[in-house]
């Protein structure tokens, strides 16, 4: 399926961007904006977007993008939007291919596009903006509430997928969106962006399930901006891919906004997973709760950096972050780095992190009930994720995540700690 035979240009270069624009047009992102983004990508160091963050130990600057062919296909055309939530459409929800969204829904698109994202802050956000070749625009008008989840599926290919997901909820709107990323080719590459823009009193539940193949590389930058009393429940399951870099930030810009963040990852084999979350409290009485559960098995590597940032005007802010990591083999490694930046006085902020193995006392307790060691370890390890998994929307999604975690344990095996 690769178009590599008829192209001489590879990698993420200006020539590649020329080819992309020539083949598919600039779509919803004007050409100068793409070129600026590419320039920024080339200038910005590949480092953590969170202040105080360290360079990833598997240096992202060395990420080899030279074989990518970002203009080989526009996956956008493959998105079957007609099947997406007819009920939502009837309620007046816009669900559109990203490439034509601006042309068809100019006002709604322009209101949301760029509202949550500052691409200057992140090298991969710039890359995704420059080469965007896929994506979805969802606009839920003010006052509209839809119960059925809208499920967006992206499939990464070896030629590089750059999806842009733009979600806009009007005042008091309510919706649940599930974003799934899989890959059809082994050596798939995806570098995506999502912008979640919530007007006052809107409530968005947004879940991500990443199940790319074992040799895929997946990079994602997701940004949210919340109006007064808006609520965002964001949950992230980074399960697949060989290398994953996943960054999330919620900007709570008006009084009373609330963000819930749940993240789950489980590095197995020689997987590397790097997740950052940041909740920014920029207004009074904003609240956030972050819960992260991660595990490593085999030679899995992981890093979680979680930041709570409370700005000077955020009186009465209330933020908590709980991050627990479980090591299930000697070769696995997880760095856990919670951080707090507080510039206001009358706030509540809590963070806590643990990294550990399954406790002997838990094991013995289960074994004393007749449960053999391997089964006890499996049960305890799966249970460890449950406080996070149980917060994902929909039974189907929760069960899929549980099954994926079980498969990882079954593949690697437990019981090596006796």
């Amino acid at each position: 399926m690769s178009a590599s035979s008829d192209v001489a240009v590879r990698g993420v270069s200006a020539a590649a961007l020329d080819a992309l624009v020539e083949r598919f047009g600039a779509g919803s992102i004007p050409e100068p904006q793409r070129r600026n983004a590419l320039a920024r990508f080339e200038e910005l160091p590949a480092r953590s977007s969170v202040r105080g963050g360290r360079t990833w130990k598997h240096d992202l600057a060395k990420l080899d993008l030279s074989e990518l062919v970002p203009f080989a296909s526009s996956g956008d055309a493959e998105l079957d939007l007609e099947s997406l939530s007819p009920a939502a459409r009837r309620a007046g929800v816009t669900i559109e291919r990203f490439s034509i969204a601006r042309e068809r829904h100019r006002v709604a698109f322009d209101r949301a596009f760029g509202a949550a994202l500052d691409p200057r802050d992140d090298t991969f956000a710039s890359l995704a903006l420059a080469f965007q070749n896929h994506g979805t625009f969802i606009d839920v008008p003010a006052g509209v509430a839809i119960d059925d989840p809208i499920v967006i599926g992206y499939e990464a290919r070896d030629t590089a997928l750059f999806p842009y997901t733009l979600v806009s909820l009007g005042a008091g709107a309510r919706a649940t969106i599930v974003e799934r990323l899989a890959s059809v080719d082994g050596d798939a590459f995806a570098c995506g962006l999502a912008e979640l823009v919530l007007a006052e009193n809107a409530h968005l539940t947004y879940a991500v399930e990443q199940r790319a193949s074992a040799s895929a590389r997946v990079i994602a930058t997701r940004r949210a901006r919340l109006g007064a009393n808006a609520e965002l429940d964001f949950s992230l399951a980074e399960l697949g891919a060989k290398h994953t870099v996943s960054r999330f930030r919620s900007q709570q810009t008006a009084r009373g906004a609330r963000t819930g963040v749940v993240a789950v990852f489980f590095s197995d084999g020689d997987q590397h997973v790097d997740i950052e979350t940041e909740t920014v409290h920029a207004a009074a009485d904003t609240t956030s709760e972050t819960i992260v559960r991660s595990a490593g098995i085999g030679h899995g590597q992981g890093r979680y950096l979680g930041n709570i940032k409370i700005l000077a005007d955020a009186h009465g802010a209330d933020a908590s972050l709980r991050d627990d990591a479980l090591l299930l083999s000697e070769g696995a490694h997880i760095d856990s780095i919670p951080a707090l930046e507080i510039a206001a006085n009358d706030v509540k902020a809590f963070h806590g992190a643990t990294v550990g193995a399954i406790s002997d006392e838990e094991l013995f307790y289960a074994e004393s009930r007749g449960i053999d060691r391997a089964q006890a370890e499996r049960m305890i390890a799966l249970g460890f994720f449950e406080p996070a998994v149980s917060r994902f929307p929909t039974d189907a999604l929760r069960d899929e995540i549980r099954r994926a975690l079980e498969v990882k344990i079954a593949r690697e095996g437990l019981g090596g700690t006796a």
């Binding site: 002997d360 013995f364 074994e367 449960i371 305890i380």
Partner: protein, 273 residues
Amino acid sequence: MRRPYHGRDMSERGLRISSLFAGVGGTEGAPGNSEILKGIDLDVQPGSVHALMGPNGSGKSTLAFSMAGHPSYTVTSGSVTLDGEELIGLAPDKRAKAGLFLSFQYPAAIPGVSVANFIRTARQAVRPDDLTPAKFRALIFEKLDTLDMDAAFLSRYVNDGFSGGEKKRLEMLQLAMLAPKYAILDETDSGLDVDALKAVGKSVNALRASESGKDIGFLIITHYPRILQHIAADHVHILMDGRVVKSGGPELANVIEREGYDKIREEVAASVG
């Protein structure tokens, strides 16, 4: 070792502790730093209730953990047989499958694993395929009722955020659901208020009165005699410094109630003298 007159099978019945030496640390057959049990002999027959009483530090919990196979405790010599099967050397789950149950003084929390899932998994492990899910459900609701426990309990995570009383009720729920051959209750009365203690007593007595529970042999390990006001013991043993220094009938518990352990300690000192 006693060899009663009846046949061999009958003679092997019972939870039998013979010349048991055990301590913390070390490895099997090689003593660790401290030997705590210094030759314990007990014989708990099916359907009987033995109380093992002793002051702090006498070795009560060491006995419970050694019998159940806790990895931090080491049996240096002696034997524990369950209806003729040697338990020492078996993994903890094999001991449970043989029919042993330990009610913990401090049960561990297993976050993320629901009570229902945990008990179902345990029941399937010790008695594979004996109950359909519907029958399991009916049985667990019946047992919950006996313990004055709410059905919401089943969806909570095992011991996670439980009060002292809730933890002990969960131990009793598991005991009733697993219906072992022999049960060790390690300080089940500690940290319980009167209502919780009554519920525990009611649950054990209901189990003993039931078809599946009438043959369970109990070893109740306790510092204070008060649990014996709720569960009647046939035999009472006093443990001091790793040895059973006195055995008798239920009246022995009353002696402890009235006079504490000091009197017995003096008696023992005099007799060793």
